[in-house]
Symmetry: C2
Subunit: 261 residues, 2 copies
Amino acid sequence: MEAYAHGRHRDAIAAHGLEIRTLPVDSGGASVSELGDADAALLTPAHQFPFGSTLAPERRSLAVEWALDRDRLLIEDDYDGEFRYDRRPVGAMQALAPERVVYAGTASKTLVPGLRLGWLVLPANLVEEVVTVKARSDWHTSSLEQLTLAEFIASGDYDRHVRRSRLAYRRRRDRLAAALGEDVRIAGTAAGLHALLELRAGRSEANVIARAAERGLALEGLGAYRTGAHRHGPALVVGYATPPEHAFTAALARLKAALAD
Amino acid sequence: MEAYAHGRHRDAIAAHGLEIRTLPVDSGGASVSELGDADAALLTPAHQFPFGSTLAPERRSLAVEWALDRDRLLIEDDYDGEFRYDRRPVGAMQALAPERVVYAGTASKTLVPGLRLGWLVLPANLVEEVVTVKARSDWHTSSLEQLTLAEFIASGDYDRHVRRSRLAYRRRRDRLAAALGEDVRIAGTAAGLHALLELRAGRSEANVIARAAERGLALEGLGAYRTGAHRHGPALVVGYATPPEHAFTAALARLKAALAD
């Protein structure tokens, strides 16, 4: 898995007794040349979480080749790929090797995480086993909500909602970037609902987070997402989708003040 | 677990590598005197599934003593205890030994199985571990549906719905009993949404099921729920909650015809 990643993924993998190896991440996504003899890889190619970078085209090819040549499984977590702002959407890696890539999508970002609705596109030989494991866990996900989402998608309203949201979130991203001072570098904003604010070397994530908390702003540090030995400089992971519209200007001012302290 | 039981329970237990031992069931519920040195027991005390009997008072006491004396865990699956028709509701065993009994309830029978909403009352020392395992499986159940159910309960509408449904289902149960011929004994109808129709010895469950299917009626045989060596005579497990009201009279006639063949 990627050296910076969702803590729940790390916990789930570890809980199943698997050994975790990590790939360094940078502005080109994960260093997939280091996949080596791993049995499987979990990547966030469209928008690395929490780094925000997109997996570079040559790395995409390399990862797919790795999975095909070595007969390994690649898990493509596309948690916010619907929100790409500055260029055309990146195609799913799954399409390049449908029998070696598991594609995972979710309504958590496009609609709301409380729904707990997501989907997998699976290699054919995994479908039965995954269905069995899912059934053993909770039989199935709520029929009412699945049917409601299906109708929302079929009617075209889901796509309209995503397009409208994409505009609104891009505007927020631009306002966030414009609000920041000179000594903070913003990264990872080509897509998604969070940005990486890189702090000057030597500045403490914990300090900025504490100052933000005093102002009623909940921030997270990049360090909280670290798995393994690779270390990046201090940075904040800032989700900009959460504040209601009327509170967004004030939230930006508080963030700026916390960073300036 | 009980010798006749829900197949999904058996599968889930086996999938976790646990050895399954079975307790015979009869009109007094499970023979809990045979619990012996098991590590844990899964029972359906209020309404044995699929047998339909209620755990006899002396067996309830015995099972609770077993759990307390031997420091064992008892899982009380109360899947349809809201629907008790002929006498006062049976209290939960959980109340007799809150630190040794896990109580499981569900909205599947009172509302709809597609909701996938249920609840556990847990011994205090298990709460954290169960929350962790649940979170690892799916983080949490849909917030929207949980909040909606909470409001439904708090408003009193859930209780009103259960009372109204109880009357409607009791009427259906009575109509089912009245419709059956002499050579079929109906059992397990003090509670719940299904009845056990005991066939004359020598009659084949499969034959009656096939005849019912020809008439558009989906029945299940008791044999499909058997785990372990204990064998009961041929019987049908008939859920009477499913047909819409306008189709119930016709469904009864088809059942009677299938039984008469």
